[in-house]
Symmetry: C2
Subunit: 314 residues, 2 copies
Amino acid sequence: MKLIGVDLGGTTFSVGLVSEDGKILKKVTRDTLVENGKEDVIRRIAEAILEVADGEETPYVGIGSPGSIDRENGIVRFSPNFPDWHNVPLTDELAKRTGKKVFLENDANAFVLGEKWFGAGRGYDHIVALTLGTGIGGGVVTHGHLLTGRDGIGAELGHVVVEPNGPMCNCGTRGCLEAVSSATAIRRFLREGYKKYHDSLVYKLAGSPEKADAKHLFDAARQGDRFALMIRDRVVDALARAVAGYIHIFNPEIVIIGGGISRAGEILFGPLREKVVDYIMPSFVGTYEIVASPLVEDAGILGAASIIKERIGG
Amino acid sequence: MKLIGVDLGGTTFSVGLVSEDGKILKKVTRDTLVENGKEDVIRRIAEAILEVADGEETPYVGIGSPGSIDRENGIVRFSPNFPDWHNVPLTDELAKRTGKKVFLENDANAFVLGEKWFGAGRGYDHIVALTLGTGIGGGVVTHGHLLTGRDGIGAELGHVVVEPNGPMCNCGTRGCLEAVSSATAIRRFLREGYKKYHDSLVYKLAGSPEKADAKHLFDAARQGDRFALMIRDRVVDALARAVAGYIHIFNPEIVIIGGGISRAGEILFGPLREKVVDYIMPSFVGTYEIVASPLVEDAGILGAASIIKERIGG
């Protein structure tokens, strides 16, 4: 049996045909065109599913969506990326149009499931996963099971406070991990830093303070730029406090970090691993690994496909 | 069937005979006398078990112990309270002496189980519990199951960083919840505050800065003492950030706070509930309760007895 995974994003969506062992056999990516309305988006997702499934036995579809999800009933309650989506019965709508059984999960939960079934989490029962991108998403597998909480809205690992009275977060609280260590936070630090540090390499690499982003930051840090290293340290220190907290809470075998920022490599992971040791109790030293997600650009589709594995059993 | 619960502490231990519905029918409390060596302590616990069990059908014993526990094998790996205890096979030793099947759990895990089976957590599948005492312990039930992690050392909820670069914690990190919101931290704040705030009501109630503790703090705060309210606010603010984090992570039905400090009542819980709302995302508002443990001084024995319920099924 092959799996179909749908990675639904605010700008594009991707649909992939995935083998049982996590290879992407076929893939289409389309513009989401949220502005055309939800009916149109759903219709085009269904078309892409049928296109990708052509001729294959694919009774199941998994879909990972941003926003607040009713996972039991397959409903997107609301999503900042889709202003006109309120309580959309996404799985029913897609099932009607494709004849397949559809499972829905929050995209960060799908990410940790993808790692569990096809990525760095294979063989582990205790996994903490963070996606560092525009926002910071979290997913947790504990004692072999996805942690979702009473209403399915748990594992919001990006919204623990790491800098009391720190920068304002989109969620309305100050100093959340997302407000310090996300790509958005880094762009804001770089814009704000220009006045004082305008001769930093970051701005030369970026061309202008408005264009400066996480990639420029880590590239400049790798070359020893003082300002870039200062921002890098702030981002890593906050992340290390959060990760150390998750290690204390979940006693995981592995902490997997994905999203765009995870591609920074050792300039991020080196000091992160060191700092986490500073922040944990001695009894936790040596109990975990911290790794970058190996799934990279396939994480979305593989995560979505793995929802099927999780729901029907591997 | 009746249950036997053993609450093992560094100063005293208590053994109780507990009914299926969580009433303590008989109870003995003895000095632990750690200085007499572990053989003697174990022998006297076994005697107390047999004394309490006299004439009753009690095939099982649950024991809650501080320190690092190998819950699967019933071994106390080490415990700060018992300097000569290293990898002590406590359940085997007690089983040999009593003829009963013995289950061992970390005391903070026993606390959340006690709440689940006999306290404020009855009927809930998602419970976060904190004990605010000399240290801060944590226990979590998520999706109906006790969270222990890979090595059984998870749910260390007292060791998340709430004040970066804050007071040094016993665990070696700065600014842990335990270093700000435990009874020990409060005593330290009160000693340190004497120089500047020596006319505070706290010190009048206590008699001397050395004697000032959490009870004096909350009593003075209730009477509007400015210094006491300042310390209360710091303690509550740190606790609120941690609790908000746990709500984001576990999406629990209930957060239960026990230990000596939980007896402070509204002077603690009123501002705590308000502050937590400030720190959580809007989608979590109204999803949880925050309550004081109703088990009070019986929490230790009932928690220990509930380990039996958890292991053999209620």
